[in-house]
C-alpha cells in the first residue's frame, strides 16, 4: 500500500472511530455548573486577597504613620447586628442517610432525606435502572427536585485473562444519582469504579451501604457523601480509598490510601494524612472539606 493510500485509510479509520463518540445532552448544563464554580472560587480568592491586604496593610500603615497611638481618634465602632446563624456541624461518619445538616442559610429550600428500604423498587418506580445489584440507597428532596442516589455493585467471575487456569473476578461499583423534577427524571451523575481480573482478594466495597446527605453550604442543594475502597491485593498492604461528595451533578473526590493498623487501633495514628482532593479544596462546597476529612479519619484505617 502506498503512503497516500495508507494516509487516506488512516483518515477514514479515525473518522469512523471518532463517529462512535457520543455527547451528553446535559453538557451545556455541566459547563454552566463549572463556570458557576469558577465564579465562586474567584470570589473566594478575591475575598482572601482582600483579607490578606487588610491584615498586612493596616499594621504597615500604622507603623509608617508613627505608631498609631497619636493618630486621629478612632471612628465610633460600628457593629453588625448579631446573627443567630448556628454554625455548621459535621455529624459522625456512618450516621446514616436519613440525616441532613444544613449550613447557615435559612432562605433556601431545606434538604430532606429519607431512607429507602428497597433500592431496586425505588429505581423501578422512577422508570430507571442501574447497572449493578443495588446495595443501598437514599432519597432526598432539595432545590433541584426529588433525588435518589443508589449504590450498586456487580461481581463477575470468569477465567482469568492474566493467569491462565485461574478464575478472575471483575468487580464494579456504581453510584447513580437521579433527579426528578417537573415530571422528568434525569441521571445527574454516574460514578463507576472497580477492579478487573482480580486473582487474589478484591477489596472493592462501599464503606457504608447508605450514602449520607448534607447541606453544609446551605444552598438548598443536597450534598451526597459516600466512600469506597478499590484494590486487588493478597496482603494487608495499603489500598486505594476514595471519598466522594456529589452536589447537583458535580463530583468532588478525595483519593488516597488506607493505613494498615496491626491491632493498634486508630488512636495510635493520631490525625491521618488525608487523600488528595480533586478538584482543589477551594472549589468544594463550603463545609464539605471538614466532613470529608472526618470520614477519611474514620475509614482510612485498615485493620
Amino acid at each position: 500500500m502506498s503512503r497516500p493510500e495508507f494516509e487516506s485509510r488512516l483518515r477514514r479509520s479515525l473518522a469512523a472511530r471518532a463517529s462512535t463518540a457520543t455527547t451528553s445532552p446535559d453538557a451545556w448544563a455541566a459547563i454552566e455548573r463549572r463556570k458557576r464554580r469558577q465564579r465562586r472560587g474567584g470570589l473566594l480568592l478575591a475575598l482572601a486577597a482582600l483579607a490578606v491586604a487588610v491584615v498586612v496593610a493596616v499594621p504597615l500603615i500604622m507603623v509608617l504613620g508613627g505608631g498609631g497611638e497619636d493618630q486621629m481618634p478612632p471612628a465610633p465602632a460600628t457593629r453588625a447586628p448579631a446573627t443567630t446563624t448556628p454554625p455548621a456541624t459535621t455529624p459522625a461518619p456512618g450516621a446514616g442517610g436519613a440525616t441532613a445538616t444544613s449550613g447557615p442559610s435559612s432562605t433556601t429550600v431545606a434538604v430532606r432525606p429519607s431512607s429507602v428500604a428497597d433500592p431496586g423498587a425505588a429505581v423501578r418506580a422512577i422508570g430507571q435502572q442501574v447497572a449493578g445489584d443495588p446495595v443501598g440507597a437514599v432519597s432526598f428532596t432539595d432545590a433541584g427536585g426529588d433525588n435518589l442516589v443508589v449504590l450498586s455493585s456487580k461481581t463477575e467471575q470468569r477465567p482469568s485473562q492474566l493467569a491462565i487456569g485461574s478464575e478472575g473476578t471483575w468487580v464494579t461499583l456504581y453510584a447513580d444519582h437521579f433527579v426528578t423534577s417537573g415530571g422528568r427524571t434525569r441521571l445527574a451523575r454516574k460514578v463507576q469504579d472497580g477492579v478487573q481480573d482480580c486473582t487474589t482478594d478484591n477489596q472493592v466495597d462501599f464503606k457504608s451501604r447508605t450514602p449520607e446527605i448534607f447541606d453544609q453550604d446551605g444552598d438548598g442543594v443536597g450534598e451526597v457523601l459516600f466512600g469506597y475502597t478499590v484494590a486487588c491485593v493478597g496482603d494487608i498492604s495499603p489500598i486505594d480509598l476514595k471519598i466522594l461528595v456529589l452536589e447537583g451533578g458535580d463530583k468532588y473526590i478525595m483519593r488516597g490510601e488506607t493505613y494498615t493498623s496491626p491491632g493498634l487501633g486508630k488512636e495510635a495514628y493520631g490525625r491521618l494524612p488525608v487523600g488528595k482532593p480533586d478538584p482543589a479544596w477551594a472549589s468544594w462546597p463550603k463545609g464539605t472539606r471538614a466532613l470529608a476529612e472526618r470520614h477519611w479519619d474514620q475509614w482510612a484505617i485498615r485493620e
Binding site: 500500500m1 502506498s2 503512503r3 495508507f6 494516509e7 485509510r9 488512516l10 483518515r11 477514514r12 479509520s13 479515525l14 473518522a15 469512523a16 472511530r17 471518532a18 463517529s19 462512535t20 463518540a21 457520543t22 455527547t23 451528553s24 453538557a27 451545556w28 455541566a30 459547563i31 454552566e32 463549572r34 463556570k35 458557576r36 469558577q38 485473562q161 492474566l162 471483575w170 477492579v195 478487573q196 481480573d197 482480580c198 486487588c232 486505594d240
Partner: protein, 190 residues
C-alpha cells in the same frame, strides 16, 4: 455577533457568554470526537472538553480576537488530554488493568487501524490525530503541541511506521525510498 441563538447563556447578555455558547453549539461535538481519539475514553473526553470550554471562558479577555477562541479551545483541550493521560498512567501503575477485549478482526481494517492509533504513545498519537483527523498542517500541529516542526515530522513518520508494523502491512514509503537506496549504496553524503 452571531444571529443564531446558542444554548441559554448563564451570564444573560454578557458577550463572552454568548460567544462561548455559540462555540459550544457549533464545536462541542467535533471537540469531543477529537478528545475521544486522544484519550479513548468517551466520558473523559466530554469532561475535558467541558473543562476546556470553561478555561476559554475564563481567559476570554486575554484572547487577541474572538476568532482566536476556537484555536485556544482546541489547544487547551489537547493540553488537558495530555495532562490527564499522564495522570492516568501514574494511576494505572498501581492498578491491574483489564486487557483490551479480544474482538474479531474488522474485515475493513478501519477499526483495527484506529485501535492501533489509540495504542500509540501520546506524543505520536497527538501528531497522527491532529494531522489526519483535525487536518492541521505540520506548522499548526507544532504550534499547538509546543514543539518544533521537525519534531512533528519525525513523530508522525515514526508513528506511521509503528502503525504499519502493528498492522503487519507493507507501507510503500516512496518518499523515503530514494534515501534508503542511497544509504544502502554507501553514497550518503556525510
Amino acid at each position: 455577533v452571531h444571529d443564531d441563538a446558542g444554548p441559554p447563556a448563564g451570564g444573560g447578555d454578557d458577550a463572552r457568554d454568548r460567544e462561548v455558547a455559540w462555540l459550544f453549539r457549533h464545536r462541542y461535538g467535533e471537540l469531543v470526537r477529537l478528545a475521544y481519539l486522544l484519550t479513548s475514553d468517551n466520558a473523559l473526553a466530554e469532561e475535558l472538553v467541558q473543562e476546556a470550554f470553561v478555561a476559554t471562558w475564563r481567559s476570554w479577555d486575554k484572547l487577541r480576537a474572538t476568532e482566536a477562541a476556537y484555536g485556544y479551545l482546541r489547544a487547551t483541550l489537547v493540553n488537558l488530554a495530555r495532562m490527564s493521560l499522564r495522570r492516568r498512567m501514574l494511576e494505572l501503575r498501581h492498578r491491574i488493568v483489564r486487557p483490551e477485549p479480544v474482538t474479531e478482526p474488522d474485515p475493513s481494517g478501519e477499526l483495527d487501524l484506529a485501535r492501533a492509533v489509540a495504542a500509540l504513545p501520546m506524543g505520536k498519537r497527538a501528531c497522527i490525530v491532529l494531522r489526519y483527523f483535525a487536518d492541521l498542517s505540520e506548522e499548526e500541529t507544532a504550534r499547538l503541541l509546543g514543539v518544533s516542526v521537525g519534531t512533528v515530522k519525525s513523530s508522525t513518520h515514526r508513528a506511521l511506521r509503528d502503525l504499519e508494523r502493528r498492522l503487519g502491512q507493507g507501507l510503500d514509503d516512496r518518499a523515503a525510498a530514494p534515501r534508503r537506496q542511497r544509504e544502502e549504496a554507501g553514497d550518503e553524503p556525510t
